[in-house]
């Protein structure tokens, strides 16, 4: 077992990792930028070292300074959290070369899944259906037109190195195609440093459903069921839940089994998530695999009773899987609302000082956050300030619990997404589980227009 772990992240996920380490009796080292000197991960870690100025590229993405810190503080392992270096195959490689355990899969696995086009063809070969599309990145206009015609419109253009909705364009006809491809390539080049894009079939009313998997370094793998993340804005998730309303135990077992077989064949280890688009006929199409812990992991933790971060650490230390598939039970319903520091209507970021703060409690309520009263939300990082997660016996109970928790959440001084969450929760289509990935866009369209006209 590890003696000491460096937490290469900030915010709520850095704290979440520190919780797990404290419970396992492992010492922690926090790294922080000059903007985070008063952050809670700095306060609660056993040691803390400043690794650079506020800009992420000079601090939380500064591999030499993070590795130096790891060597100086004599840690056995690094937990990358999500975002930042968590899906950097290069960083995982540097850790491997420095004999520091990277808590995640091997650098080869990260590299394979990081290339979205390659991941798609590999997973398709291993038995997961994918949407019809270009097998590889598109290089010429002629190629783009031929591919789109063959698949049939609408199509979606995606960045090979993609994520977070950048480098994505939906195209409804040939006249929009080439311009959209150029814009997507330019966006991909600036966001990921690589302009390559691929084209695939676009489903109008799709659900986003993902499977949580866990695999050890001895060839064992299990799945921990699904999360539905159809409530998104600009391809960024806002509400996640488990189970999905369309799921049945039989369908879960069938898709779950395929997923487990596929990742066993890739030799994957540690936790991971396979994302699927699901059409109205409940057909699952593999989109991509995230090779890290995800923001919405608590939803799975509440329905399965499993501590995913703890298990990540145990697996990285070489332990065998602590659970067998037949032991995994799904109890009740969990929901997560992401409370972001942003305008609930325009989604513009709203950094600044939190003047007043109360986070709700009571039965079935969990708040994962690193914010507090008087905390200043820095403008340099992502806008997530808290995850409000609830558990109930049924979906209806979970929704009512979430609604009262949101009502009792006091967060003043900055704008946040709480009013938007309450609006979604009160929507009758949402209550019925009648949701798809463009639900929020359609809910907000009239309001955004009204704001723009005013």
């Amino acid at each position: 077992m590890f003696r000491k772990i460096l937490v290469a992240n900030r915010g709520e996920i850095a704290l979440r990792i520190i919780y797990a380490c404290k419970e396992l009796g492992i010492k922690t080292v926090a790294v922080f930028s000059e903007a985070d000197r008063h952050a809670l991960h700095v306060r609660f870690a056993d040691e803390a070292i400043c690794i650079g100025p506020p800009k992420s590229s000079d601090s939380y993405l500064n591999i030499p300074n993070i590795i130096s810190t790891a060597e100086l503080s004599n840690v056995d392992a690094i937990h990358p959290g999500y975002g930042f270096l968590s899906e950097s195959a290069y960083f995982a490689e540097v850790c491997e070369a420095s004999r520091i355990k990277f808590i995640g899969p091997s650098s080869e696995a990260i590299r394979l899944m990081g290339d979205k086009a390659r991941a798609r063809s590999e997973m398709n070969r291993l038995g997961l259906p994918v949407l019809p599309g270009s097998a590889d990145s598109i290089h010429t206009d002629k190629e783009a037109i031929a591919t789109a015609e063959a698949i049939g419109y609408p199509v979606i253009i995606k960045a090979v190195a993609g994520g977070g909705g950048r480098g994505m364009r939906i195209v409804h006809g040939r006249n929009e195609l080439l311009l959209a491809l150029k814009t997507a390539q330019a966006e991909a080049a600036s966001a990921f440093g690589a302009p390559h894009c691929y084209i695939e079939k676009y489903i109008e009313r799709a659900r986003h459903i993902e499977f949580q998997v866990m695999a050890d370094e001895h060839g064992n793998a299990i799945h921990l069921g699904e999360r539905e993340c159809s409530i998104q804005r600009r391809h960024q998730k806002l509400i996640e839940e488990s189970p999905s309303v369309i799921m049945t135990p039989e369908l879960r077992a069938e898709v779950g089994n395929r997923v487990v077989q596929a990742i066993k064949k890739t030799g994957y280890s540690n936790v991971g998530t396979l994302e699927f688009l699901v059409d109205e006929k409940k057909q699952f199409y593999f989109m991509e695999m995230n090779t890290r812990i995800q923001v919405e992991h608590p939803v799975t933790e509440l329905v399965t009773g499993i501590d995913l971060i703890r298990d990540q650490i145990l697996i990285a230390a070489g332990d065998s899987l602590p659970h067998r598939q037949e032991d995994i039970q799904f109890r009740g319903h969990a929901l997560e609302c992401r409370i972001n520091a942003e305008d609930p209507v325009t989604h513009k970021p709203s950094p600044g000082k939190i003047t007043s703060w109360y986070s709700p409690g009571g039965p079935g309520v969990r708040v994962d956050t690193a914010a507090y009263a008087e905390y200043v939300v820095p403008p340099h990082y992502d806008s997530l300030i808290a995850k409000l997660i609830v558990h109930g016996a049924t979906r209806d109970e979970a929704i009512r619990r979430m609604d009262r928790a949101l009502e009792m959440f006091v967060l003043e001084g900055i704008k946040c997404t709480i009013p938007l969450h309450r609006q979604i929760l009160h929507n009758s289509a949402f209550r019925k589980g009648n949701i798809h990935t463009r639900f929020l866009e359609q809910l907000q369209e009239p309001r955004v227009r009204a704001v723009e006209m005013a």
């Binding site: 000059e34 400043c50 100025p53 030499p64």
Partner: protein, 151 residues
């Protein structure tokens, strides 16, 4: 602010009994003088930046001499995370010692990071007033390494 100015300010406060307390903030230094039974009992000045971070420091009276020096000094800070070495190898002499005059660009120390020896150069010309880190100690980003009185 130099010693002469500081003395003048104290003289003004002590000569005028209607002044109970005086607080001045100027170019990064905050000075507070408070009268107690007609005597000046506490003169404490600290850089403004450190007041919020460590309120405990501002409660400690600091000798005026040290204060005046603090204000004029230039600090060389570590640009990376690593191990601080005063000389090019364990048994060789330090690049610089207290009292040495250095030029802009003079090598002051080495910070080792990921097996690479990074020479840290002076950003100013002046006299080394203090070496703030012990040989072989780890340093973080932005940590103060040397205090230099600029020439």
């Amino acid at each position: 602010m130099n010693l002469k100015e500081l003395k003048e300010i104290i003289d003004i406060v002590t000569s005028n009994e209607s002044i109970e307390e005086l607080e001045i903030e100027k170019s990064g230094v905050r000075l507070r003088i408070r009268r107690s039974s007609n005597h000046v009992t506490s003169v404490s000045t600290v850089p403004v930046a450190s007041i919020a971070a460590s309120p405990a420091i501002s409660a400690t009276p600091v000798p005026p001499k040290a204060v005046v020096e603090t204000e004029e000094l230039f600090y060389i800070k570590s640009p990376i995370v690593g191990t601080f070495y005063t000389g090019p190898s364990p048994d060789s002499e330090s690049f610089v010692s207290v009292g040495d005059m250095v030029e802009k660009g003079s090598v002051l120390c080495i910070i080792e990071a990921m097996k690479l020896m990074n020479e840290i150069e002076s950003e100013v010309a002046g006299e080394i007033v203090s070496v703030l880190v012990d040989n072989g100690q780890p340093v973080e980003y932005g940590e103060k390494l040397f205090a230099i009185r600029p020439r």
